[in-house]
């Protein structure tokens, strides 16, 4: 049982690293300028739905800090938005039926809007939003659509890796 928990944790941390690397090195080459897919947000939502509030806080904090630290700029903007999204998704842990693709997709869309609002608020208060507000919102909408579009694929991958963990440990992932 303990081995299973460690394996699951390692597997999820590695998935988080892969997601950040994909976000940073691959997606910008294929997406229109400025548009990005937030794979870390998808993972945070999926893990929060799976494990609850505390997991939402933990994965949101870890994923957001990872993004912030890789960027080498202001630390905490991504972390704050993702902690909030993870917390909200974790609160739905016992309410929602999690074994389909629609629930996480809708939740990613909703928390994505909250994430944009938090990021926008922080950027304005820090004086980091020099471009037009409309432009920022338009790009973020495209990014959110791309993120929502990718959610089912990531959810299937997470379910697949969960089954793999379960088959190797003999416990429910």
């Amino acid at each position: 049982m303990k081995y299973g928990k460690v394996l699951r944790l390692v597997s999820r941390v590695l998935t988080l690293f892969f997601a950040v690397a994909l976000e940073s090195a691959v997606i910008p080459r294929f997406a229109p300028p400025g548009v990005h897919a937030d794979l870390v947000l998808i993972l945070v939502i999926l893990y929060s739905l799976d494990r609850g509030l505390l997991a939402g806080l933990g994965w949101g904090l870890a994923g957001g800090l990872l993004e912030d630290m890789l960027a080498g700029g202001v630390i905490g903007i991504s972390a704050l938005s993702k902690v909030t999204c993870g917390y909200l998704a974790g609160a739905m842990h016992e309410i929602l039926f999690r074994d389909n693709l629609v629930v996480p997709t809708l939740l990613v869309a909703m928390t994505g809007i909250i994430k944009v609002a938090i990021t926008l608020g922080l950027c304005i208060s820090l004086g980091m939003l020099d471009g037009s507000l409309l432009h920022f919102i338009r790009v973020e909408i495209y990014s959110l659509l791309l993120t929502v579009f990718l959610t089912p694929a990531v959810a299937i991958w997470v379910a697949f890796s969960g089954n793999w963990e379960a088959s190797h440990v003999g416990t429910e992932a």
Binding site: A25, L61, V83, T84, G131
Partner: protein
Amino acid sequence: MHQFIVSRRIWGYIVIFFLLVSIIYVTARERGRLTFAEEMICEALRPLLSFFSEIASYVNRAVWTVGHIGQLRRENLELAREVAKLNAELMQLSEYKAENERLKQLLGFKEAAPYNTVAARVIGRDPSRITSSLILDKGKRDGVRKDMPVIYLGGLVGRVISVTPSTSTVLPIIDPKSAVGGIVHRTRDLALVEGQSQETALCRLKPLSSDADLRVGDQIISSGLGGIFPKGLLIGTIIDVSAGKYLVGKNALVKPDVDFAKLEEVLVITSKVLPSAEGDIKGGTSSSSGQ
């Protein structure tokens, strides 16, 4: 009991919220160096970023090649003819070069490269897209230091804002936090070139004098006044001129010489020896020595 647990979790969230807000405001100012944790994460992610970047480049090239196969065939034929013609010219030019070298030696001139460079690959971009920073695969071990200018072919890319042993982060000139001293090449008017946004990939030109003469098509080069960028690097070309604030003077939009969306390799200028001839537009490749 349930109420207690729920309220405890809300307090947990509130504590993390205020902790993160404090960290945000502490780190919002430009920092001299990265924290140990940031360096560790950059170092840990570097192999993954390089790997994914290589795959993405390969796929990009493959898709482009398939999409342009007809054009490539035509170009190939044209290039074959061009190569034959250029080979003949090359022979002639090498004769001129040899003659030039002899004359230089006679005059006692020493051919000195204006600056030394380190070639680096762009292996990632700010994943959160809050800034438009670029992550390079060269760091302290390769001689890259904070505030070193970064160029690509003929144009200025930006400056290094943080360095780890094997990676470095570049703030491009299109980022709203970037400001570069510039000169309008035609009129020698001094101006400030500020980044507009990564989506438009344009810069704003703010002339220092209200009677500056700006025209569409004017080339902007670095002034060298800030002490970071050498003088004479090509920043970009004016594509639009508008009236300034309160109709005083003019402002302009500058299209950088570098295509930031397709940037894959750059050169980091490691020595700060300034270019000699005032007003010359010097490209990275034409004048760099460390490629």
